[in-house]
Amino acid sequence: MSTDQTSREEQFAVATQWQLTWWRFRKHKLAVLSGLIVIAFYIIVLFADFFAYADPHATDSRRSHIPPQTIHFFDDGAFKPYVHGLTQKRDLRTFKLSYQIDPDRKVYLELFAEGYRYNLFGLIPSSTHLLGLKNAQPEDGIFLLGTDLVGRDLWSRIMVATRISLTIGLAGVTVSLFLGVLLGGLSAVYGGVVDMMIQRLIEILRSMPTIPLWMGLAAALPNTWTVIQVYLAITIIISFLGWTDLARVVRGKFLALRNEDFIAAAELAGASQFRIIFHHMLPSFLSHIIAATSLALPAMIISETSLSFLGLGLRPPAISWGILLQDAQNIETLALAPWLLAAAVPVIIIILAFNFLGDGLRDAADPYG
């Protein structure tokens, strides 16, 4: 046998279960790609303001409903990205002032430009942004995805919205994780009456229609609460229902593991219940929990987006994808400014990415399950 084979065998022999899972995961091209997309989104979460170029809160009615402006990459053959400038025009019928594209003026883009002020990670003051304009007039701007009714740039708002939409998902999943593992574990370990009660509770919660429930709970929130308080309350409301799936997964895995011979062997050696659960069982289904969690996240994100879209969740001036999509509720608005639907695209991408990632993780963790 060649040394190449023996060293590969040796590697395989001393590989822990985590390493084996990682190697299996790596083979799933789609899952790996999805993983990279998820990481990319969370980088945006960290650096949201950096990726934005216009103040997401600054309104300007003159910039109302500007369509998306393409960046022109080549200026007379040379690589010098630019956008067209804007000039102020007055509509002679409504006497409304608005900005129109001036095809004769070119304003050049620059990287790491100065822009509005923000706090990086909420702590470090900064005003550097990825993109900006060189020598711009006050009315000029980049409009990658156009503006909304009150002149706010959609791209910048989507960037900032990512932060709230994705972190609320995380917070929700953490709460669900805790509740799910606790209640699922109790259900499996104690069995009998405890199991029966918890399972019936799960069934009742799952059979409740979610939207009326959320409406009720959201309506109960006092509207004097700050954005942060509402944010936390929404998180708790969503995870109130989200833990049920995880609890069932945990309980199922527990019960399946209990019948494994190696558990019996540990018991026969005199292991305590504590050791059986924490040393033998928990590591076995940790990877399943991770997989189930990554599949629970998209549900959280959709929940928040739906709630905010319906006006029941977060409210302006908070910015989330759901709030952005509120602007697209109106058919007339959509006819006038269809680019406002762009806020749906990151939702679709991240949900798909999480689903593929979760599937890949689950298959890698348990190829035979």
Binding site: L20, A266, G270
Partner: protein, 335 residues
């Protein structure tokens, strides 16, 4: 010197039916079984699926709580009945009896290194010093003929036979006197099976172990045991020294069982005894003798009266009304 003495062991599983979960009956998985194992001896417990041998072995290990009966274990001259003991009291006795499992793929925790797997019983039972544990693990790996370098590997790197050796090493960690082996070679290939059988015989000679060998393969049983107990539908139907059971069986079921084993000799093709019908339902066993519906010698007495275990001489016991009069065929003398 007896090490294990099981008396009137019973394990009944309740059957609940209906919305209110009313108790409608019992599955008599183990129904009044008694036998003993002497020091350094191997007793085989044989039977087909549903006969109760696995349930009986789990009761003896106290992985299950017996419904009634005694499980007497004798250590250093002192005899204790394990049946009524609480979990905490049992821990003291765990070190004296250990189990080897059937499925080499589920009996080892895939997330633990082999060294840790074997050392776990030591850790649980108070050997806190790590280097002491490692030394003992090396000793045990040696005993089962595995290289000590395997300590750092994980179970997935090993074949079925090697895993079974690891399981045996783990069972020997605490220096038990009794090993309950639950079908230890059924899941292995023929060539590997031979290696493990030899290993078990070897270890028995070197360490003076006693085995309760639960199996369904009678050829393996012939190689390994001193005495054999045959179970059918939860009852012990025959128990005898190995040679006597195989050459002169006294129960019709034992005869049929022996006749059914295919012999690896094309010139010895003979008429097999083919039992009629299927094994009865343990929840609803036949009246009288449990075997009577399939027995070609059944009489009216067999249908109505349950036979008792009779002594027919030289440690041979049979549960059959006609034990003294039947002339049954065995497998021929040992070569």
């Amino acid at each position: 010197m007896t090490i294990l003495d099981v008396k009137n062991l019973k394990k009944y599983f309740p059957i609940h039916k209906g919305l209110l979960r009313k108790l409608v009956g019992h599955v008599k998985a183990v129904d009044d079984v008694s036998f003993s194992v002497a020091r350094g001896e191997t007793l085989a417990l044989v039977g087909e699926s549903g006969c109760g041998k696995t349930t009986a072995s789990r009761c003896i290990m106290r992985a299950l709580q017996p419904s009634s009966g005694e499980i007497n274990i004798t250590i250093d001259g002192k005899t204790t009945d394990l049946a009524p003991l609480e979990k905490s009291e049992l821990k003291l006795f765990r070190r004296h009896m250990q189990m080897v499992f059937q499925d080499p793929f589920s009996s080892l925790n895939p997330r633990m290194m082999v060294g840790d797997l074997i050392a776990e019983p030591l850790l649980i039972n108070g050997m806190d010093n790590e280097s002491e544990r490692r030394a003992r693990v090396r000793e045990l790996l040696d005993l089962v003929s595995l290289p000590t370098a395997y300590m750092n590997r994980f179970p997935h790197a090993f074949s079925g036979g090697q895993r079974q050796r690891i399981g045996i090493a783990r069972a020997l960690a605490l220096n038990p006197s009794l090993i309950v082996a639950d079908e230890p070679v059924s899941a292995l290939d023929v060539s590997v099976q031979a290696q493990i059988i030899n290993l078990l015989l070897d270890l028995q000679d070197r360490l003076g172990l006693s085995y309760l060998f639960v199996a369904h393969d009678l050829s393996v049983v012939k190689h390994v045991s001193d005495r054999v107990a045959v179970m059918y539908l939860g009852q012990l139907v025959e128990i005898a020294p190995t040679e006597a059971l195989f050459v002169t069986p006294r129960h019709p079921y034992t005869e049929a069982l022996l006749s059914a084993v295919p012999k690896p000799d094309p010139r010895a093709r003979q008429e097999r005894i083919i039992l009629s019908r299927e094994v009865a339902d343990a929840a609803n066993p036949p009246s009288g003798c449990a075997f009577h519906p399939r027995c070609s010698f059944a009489t009216d007495q067999c249908k109505s009266e349950r036979p008792q275990l009779q002594d027919v001489g030289q440690g041979h016991q049979v549960r059959c009304h006609h034990a003294r009069t039947l002339a049954l065929q065995g497998v021929g003398p040992s070569v």
